[in-house]
């Protein structure tokens, strides 16, 4: 078990439809999360991310597989896990609109099994941490969307749980609120020694906050690595050729069948960007340019952001 705080083993969820068809929402997914890791769970809509989160929280029964918390607490010990995992679910209010900010933090601590009187310092700390001090006695229903989301996350941070699950924390927020939320998440990542699993479509959250990424598609894991490794992998495979002048139609024809190759021309130069999975393709491009008499000014590894890497992983390049 090592120092893993959460171990997901062969997790499978099959939904049976009325016509006796089966939908495999999650297919044999396994991963481990170390204490203190901040992991991004990514994937397109319907990939199975929220189903995994809900199975970890015991809101959905798995069809197969197991989820181990710490060393030996098995799936059946639901309540022990509940005391150590908090979760903010996407699309939900997660907080009581008729209660004030402070009342919400107190009541939701009780629900997690903690006496709010003993958590008074933590409650005050997180009210300041999330910049909610001036809204402390305002009922949640009157807060802006961004403030409500801050309150939801604050409520998940107040109980001293070891794992926090955040499902799409920036979804539905406007640009400013989304920016604020990313800052808050980055602060949490830097200052809190919590294990955090975030599902998101916001690549800025991924790049700024997460130190490891699990990409899931059609219920299966297709990549699981540190974010820097994934970016590095793409940097090594993405090349940018800068050519003086224009390439000929014949050269274009010869390069035409190379996948993921993009040719752009400006006033004086031609730029070729390509993602290659075999070095032979690299040499082929060089040969085509050389034989056609093109003058290559530079060949560089392309700068790549995580969004591009993510799309290419989903596209099946890696």
């Amino acid at each position: 078990m090592g120092n893993y705080i959460l171990k997901v083993i062969n997790l499978t969820k099959i939904y049976k439809t009325r016509r006796e068809n089966e939908i495999k929402a999650v297919n044999n997914v396994s991963f481990n999360i170390k204490n203190g890791e901040i992991v991004g769970l990514l994937g397109p809509n319907g990939a199975g991310k929220t189903t995994i989160i809900k199975m970890i929280c015991r809101l959905i029964n798995s069809t197969k597989g197991n989820i181990l918390y710490e060393n030996d607490i098995k799936q059946k010990k639901r309540l022990n896990m509940a005391k150590n995992i908090t979760c903010v679910l996407e699309g939900n209010r997660n907080v009581y609109w008729r209660l004030t900010v402070r009342e919400n933090l107190e009541f939701l601590s009780i629900i997690k099994g903690y006496n709010p009187k003993k958590l008074k310092e933590r409650i005050d700390y997180y009210i300041d941490f999330f910049n909610l001090r001036d809204k402390e006695h305002v009922i949640a229903g009157k807060l802006s969307q961004g403030m409500k989301q801050k309150l939801s996350i604050a409520a998940s941070m107040v109980p001293p749980t070891k794992i926090v699950l955040l499902d799409e924390p920036t979804l539905g927020l406007d640009v400013k609120a989304s920016y604020d939320m990313r800052k808050i998440l980055k602060k949490i990542a830097e200052e809190e020694n919590r294990t955090i699993l975030i599902t998101t479509h916001d690549m800025k959250v991924v790049q700024n906050v997460c130190n490891r990424i699990i990409i899931i598609n059609q219920g299966q894991i297709i990549a699981d690595d540190k974010i820097n490794n994934l970016l590095h992998l793409f940097e090594l495979k993405n090349y940018h050729f800068s050519i003086e002048g224009f390439i000929t139609d014949e050269q274009r024809q010869l390069l035409n069948d190379i996948p993921h190759l993009e040719i752009k021309e400006n006033d004086k130069n031609t730029e070729i960007s390509v993602h290659i999975d075999k070095m032979s393709i690299f040499y082929r491009i060089v040969r085509v340019l050389e034989n056609g008499g093109s003058i290559v000014k530079s060949i560089e590894n392309s700068e790549i952001d995580f969004e591009k890497a993510y799309i290419e992983i989903l596209g099946g390049i890696v």
Binding site: N61, A82, I85, T86, R93, N94, V95, W97, I111, G113
Partner: protein
Amino acid sequence: MGGKWLLLKGFIKKERIEFSRYIFDTIVGIIVTLGLFLLLFYGISSLANNYNIGTTKSALVVGYGLFILYIGAYNSIADTIITEGKNGTLEQLYMSAYPFRWILIMKNIASSILGLILFVFIILITMLITGVSLNIDFFSVIPLAIITAPSFLGLGLIAGGLALVFKKVNGLLQILQFSILGFISLPISKSWVLRFLPGTLGTNMIQDIMVKSKNIFSFNFITYVELIGIGCFYLIIGSAIYNICEKVAMNKGSIGYY
């Protein structure tokens, strides 16, 4: 037990806050409850103008009070699931450190405490308005009301379980509400079978205390065994059906999905 006490205190505080924060809603609710009762009361009185219905009037006051008390207890469970589901907080309750059934029961107790206060208040006000005289022996009535409550808790768990699976169950909830009205008003003296309906025996005993001036010691030991047995039976049946429904909802992944 400390944790459950904390949970109960938490729910009582939340109910109290919402009760006082939305005082207009609370007052309107009480006025509507009293208004409906007065319509019912004077309607029956005018229909039976030439008959001596003194006992019936008293029974009506007590029956209505009991209906308000138990409908609150019954509604609290299904209502918690439906309202919290719609509000998007049901999952937070499900991810609690306590079994969800405990959450429901504690919330139910918190609602019932307020319901009991409302029951006493409505009984006193209706007595004042209608001039009906009742035996106000709350020392006898309140313990009996508490022992009778598990039957309605059981019905609430059935309704809550069905709400968890089928989501839109308003029609069924209304049928059950009318059934509760029936269970409360049926006289057990008509048939021995009626005493085994949920809450019927207990509410008949309360009627006897308040209308016929009996007290808690007027009933024999066997009757109390029956009363407790009936309450346990419906609570166990309710819990079993709720468990099945919860498992179905968790397999379907539909908890909180409204």
